[in-house]
Symmetry: C2
Subunit: 191 residues, 2 copies
């Protein structure tokens, strides 16, 4: 799902500027399950405009750059619906934190502790944020996605607390100096 489609989706929630769309991915309703930077959003909006999938109203502001407020056109909405009807790509999760937990034995105990702490804090903060959102205004899928996110953060946070000992008390640094555990890699084990 490319940033163009994502922008169309964002605009179904109401007219917005590129800056506002970015915020939606940063700390807004999309942040939980997608993200996009300015470097993708502004070109995407430009392309959508050229294809008449959105319109723009340029608002001159006193001492700031012009605000360009984008709106979805009917063909833009139609294309978005069409995109939603296509089979979804595989979920993608990438975590620098878990890489570090996985390679715990190549880290110092204090670094490991720091990663653990920041990770727990992250999950707790996110959970708190979602809990504070008033669910009344949402309907159906919106509520569902939000609750799913909340469940995720709560579960991960609980997991970290429950298994802290396994990671930190049982910590022992890798005894090998050459960096290999086997001479040859063995794959998943099911090949």
């Amino acid at each position: 799902m490319d940033v163009k489609t994502l922008c169309l989706g964002a605009l179904t929630l109401g007219d917005a500027t590129g800056y506002e769309i970015h915020k939606m991915f940063d700390d807004g309703p999309f942040g939980q399950f997608y993200d996009a930077g300015y470097g993708s959003i502004y070109p995407a909006l430009g392309a959508l405009l050229k294809a008449d999938l959105v319109t723009v109203v340029q608002l001159a502001q006193e001492k700031r750059p012009d605000k360009k407020v984008y709106s979805l056109t009917p063909s833009g909405l139609a294309l978005f619906k069409k995109a939603l009807a296509e089979p979804p790509a595989k979920d993608r999760f990438r975590s620098d934190h878990i890489v570090r937990l996985f390679f715990a034995d190549y880290m110092s105990k204090s670094d490991l502790q720091a990663v653990y702490d920041s990770y727990l804090c992250h999950f707790q903060t996110q959970a708190e944020k979602l809990r504070s959102i008033d669910i009344q205004n949402f309907r159906n899928g919106r509520t569902f996605a939000l609750q799913m996110g909340l469940r995720f953060y709560e579960t991960m946070s609980a997991f970290l607390v429950e298994n802290q000992g396994q990671l930190l008390n049982d910590y022992c640094p890798n005894p090998m100096d050459d960096g290999t555990e086997q001479t040859r890699n063995q794959g998943t084990g099911d090949d």
Copy 2:
């Protein structure tokens, strides 16, 4: 965390070819929390080789392309450890599935049902896969990361089952034709 660093990490588990490293991200121990395609792995290995962070042994094979087995050098391991000691980037999760659940009201009920089914199946399959892995050989962080992944898949799968009704029974398509819910976007609500 770039693919070069990830390749170094993969090689700490044992010597491997680019193909094998890719498998590790595809269905191996890394797949849960990172991924990388051939288009990143092969150039990364080339760059690592040039920088003496890995070595390569080219094995001629009878009727297949030469196998290039890469090994970590001491300086490669040192660099990897250094990378682990740096503060981790924010986790990134992107889900085409949740985008569709979020925009449920812009989908047909049958398409929504299909997304739900494939998502549930995905989580259940992944959980089963992790459950079947023998944990005896792993230690510390390896076990921790694996169990964390298992907990994630089990929780998400349970969530989908528990809240199926909210998504599918309470489903109602968006009544609006113009695609907007408000005239102007309101952000998170906390600005």
